[in-house]
């Protein structure tokens, strides 16, 4: 059995009594060493989930464990980059990295952090307040990677970056993760930036888990079918279907052979995610070893 990076059971988070819960009974398991994309529409609970895993929030109900510990006790082993990349504006880049060293004395790897900063052509003496959004993202990621985390939680990490920097930082991130076996959990609503980088998917909608599991297994469980509008898909689970004229296109979870009436293709990650986003009522599918998660 592989080790578990994050395990959530009946995890709920509510901000204020009157408001809709940000997370509502989430359960999933993420094996260590995977690179997981957390996707979902705005307000789906992605940021809340990452904050809970980072030990910054106390769940209203349920539990979340990271690396086999409570998040608050696993602080030293995880790194977290919040969506707004908070950094101290009055510090220089060099002092920001020194802060990482001073606050993580047992783990800090200065070479890694300095390399990421240097790749962005950042002046170590520049004050953080003078940096652009993308440059701040780079410093925040350098701070996170310099800690040598076992679990890296990134909330919308690439939003401020230009395409070139995004590509380069993503490559650096993935190389680093592959080299050290770091588990990376990355939230985004730009599905394209995750394609090719992730091997696990967690799709959230309205605070619930919609899809969870290894990406290839999730993709294999779905088929994109095209056929005549009067043909029946009743035997299968239809995630989403669209009719154009006399033709119907649908994303289905086949429960058996589809028959010759249908043209089938394998969906891409983007098609899989978009179909589920367009059909919020589609049933959830979990392929993440539910026996262990259903505590």
């Amino acid at each position: 059995m592989t080790e578990t990076a994050i395990e959530a059971a009946a995890l709920s988070m509510r901000f204020g009594r009157r408001r809709r819960p940000a997370l509502d009974g989430c359960a999933f398991r993420l094996p260590a060493g995977s690179v997981c994309a957390v996707v979902g529409p705005n307000g789906a609970g992605k940021s809340t989930l990452l904050s809970l895993a980072a030990g910054l929030l106390r769940p209203t109900e349920g539990t979340v464990t990271v690396l086999g510990q409570a998040p608050a006790t696993a602080r030293e082993r995880l790194a977290y980059v919040a969506q707004d990349k908070p950094l101290h504006p009055q510090l220089t880049v060099a002092d920001t990295l020194r802060l990482g060293h001073e606050l993580n004395p047992r783990r800090w790897d200065a070479a890694v952090a300095e390399r990421i900063v240097a790749e962005g052509d950042l002046d170590p003496a520049a004050k953080v307040r003078t940096l652009s959004g993308g440059q701040r993202t780079r410093v925040a990621l350098a701070l996170a990677l310099g800690k040598r985390p076992e679990l890296l939680l990134l909330d919308e990490p690439m939003a401020d970056l230009d395409p070139l920097a995004r590509h380069q930082l993503m490559a650096a991130l993935m190389a680093d993760a592959a080299e050290h076996g770091t588990t990376v959990v990355m939230s985004s609503h730009v599905v394209a930036e995750l394609d090719g980088a992730c091997d696990h998917l967690l799709l959230l909608g309205a605070g619930r888990v919609r899809l969870a599991g290894p990406l290839d297994e999730l993709l294999a469980a779905h088929t994109l079918v095209t056929g005549r509008a009067d043909a029946s898909l009743a035997a299968h689970t239809v995630v989403e279907s669209r009719t154009t004229g006399r033709q119907i296109t649908a994303l289905v979870r086949p429960e058996g052979p589809l028959g010759d009436d249908w043209q089938t293709t394998a969906p891409s990650l983007e098609e899989l995610v978009l179909a589920h986003l367009r059909a919020p009522e589609a049933p959830a599918l979990r392929l993440d070893d539910a026996r262990e998660a259903a505590v």
Binding site: L56, A72, Y80, P86, Q90, L99, L103, N104
Partner: protein
């Protein structure tokens, strides 16, 4: 290499040669501007006090008795009038004394705003809490480092102030029971800013935004300051003196109440008896100790509340 050093919040243990480390370094570096401003203010105040000490003798000559023309060893009044050192001495000592008694206000606003509120507002507190330090240790360092700096600063300035005041001539430096003189000449001078620090930090944790927290910190300490000033005379039992006829209390007595019993014609002649309640000079230290105790208790309660609040909020 230094990577093997433990992350220590206490500056006292295992200090490596290159100055503070870990959270202490972080707190001092983040609030370097405030530290510099504080040190400059202390240096300026100390320089002024040294100057005051230097002109102290001249100032006392400017207050001496005089005669016109100079007789019996008394200097001539024209010569005494010509001495301006006494006015300079009074004005600057008064300024330093008042400033020292007001340190609590900027400290509370800074603690609520820059120290805690801004970190919670901008999310940099979450940055610290996802490094290898727990929120409780973060708050401990945030309070301990400024507390040490404040105590050293106000304590030092207090001693220099007492030295510059020399014989405490009330004509030059004000009576001991004047609010700012009282607060700037004893342990209260050290206790008040610590209460400001704790109350400001608590306001920062409660409001989580810099500007409201700074305002609330300032307002709460203003209330504390005024309540204690209002009720200071009740912090220790007063002395009472009753005599037949009338009498006067010495200047060093802090008068609270006069009760005059008149004979048949009130306001005319001599009163039958007079009764006065007051704090003699000897009550200075009991009053100081009680007030310092109250203020430190407020500081301790606010600190405890801040830690409990943080613990309740964080997992």
């Amino acid at each position: 290499m230094s990577t093997a050093l433990p992350a220590t919040a206490a500056p006292t243990t295992g200090r490596p040669p290159r100055g503070p480390r870990g959270l202490t370094w972080t707190v001092l570096r983040l609030h370097r501007t405030a530290l510099i401003v504080w040190c400059l203010a202390l240096a300026a105040a100390t320089a002024v006090l040294i100057w005051m000490y230097a002109i102290g003798d001249e100032a006392r000559r400017g207050m001496s008795g005089c005669a016109t023309p100079a007789t019996d060893g008394l200097p001539s009044c024209a010569a005494v009038d010509a001495i301006t050192a006494d006015e300079t001495y009074s004005a600057f000592l008064g300024l330093i004394t008042t400033s020292l008694s007001y340190v609590i206000f900027p400290v509370a606003a800074w603690a609520g705003g820059a120290l805690i509120g801004r970190e919670l507002e901008s999310g940099t507190a979450r940055l610290a809490w996802t490094q290898s330090v727990t929120p409780a240790r973060w708050l401990a360092a945030k309070l301990a480092a400024p507390a040490v700096v404040l105590t050293a600063g106000t304590g030092g300035l207090l001693l220099v102030n007492l030295w510059a005041r020399q014989d405490d001539d009330p004509n030059l430096v004000g009576d001991w029971y004047l609010p700012d003189v009282f607060l700037a000449t004893g342990p209260t001078a050290v206790a008040y800013p610590l209460a400001g620090l704790a109350l400001g930090a608590l306001a920062g944790l409660l409001w989580r935004r810099a500007l409201p927290a700074a305002g609330v910190g300032f307002a709460v300490t203003l209330a504390l300051y005024n309540v204690l000033e209002r009720y200071r005379d009740r912090l220790w039992p007063t002395a009472t003196r009753s005599e037949q006829g009338e009498f006067e209390l010495p200047r060093s007595a802090w008068q609270q109440d006069w009760d005059i019993t008149w004979g048949r014609y009130p306001g005319e002649g001599t009163p039958v008896s007079t009764s006065a309640t007051f704090h003699p000079r000897s009550h200075y230290w009991p009053l100081q100790y009680v007030e310092t105790g109250i203020v430190l208790a407020v500081a301790a309660a606010a600190t405890l509340a801040a830690f409990r609040l943080l613990r309740r909020r964080m997992p």
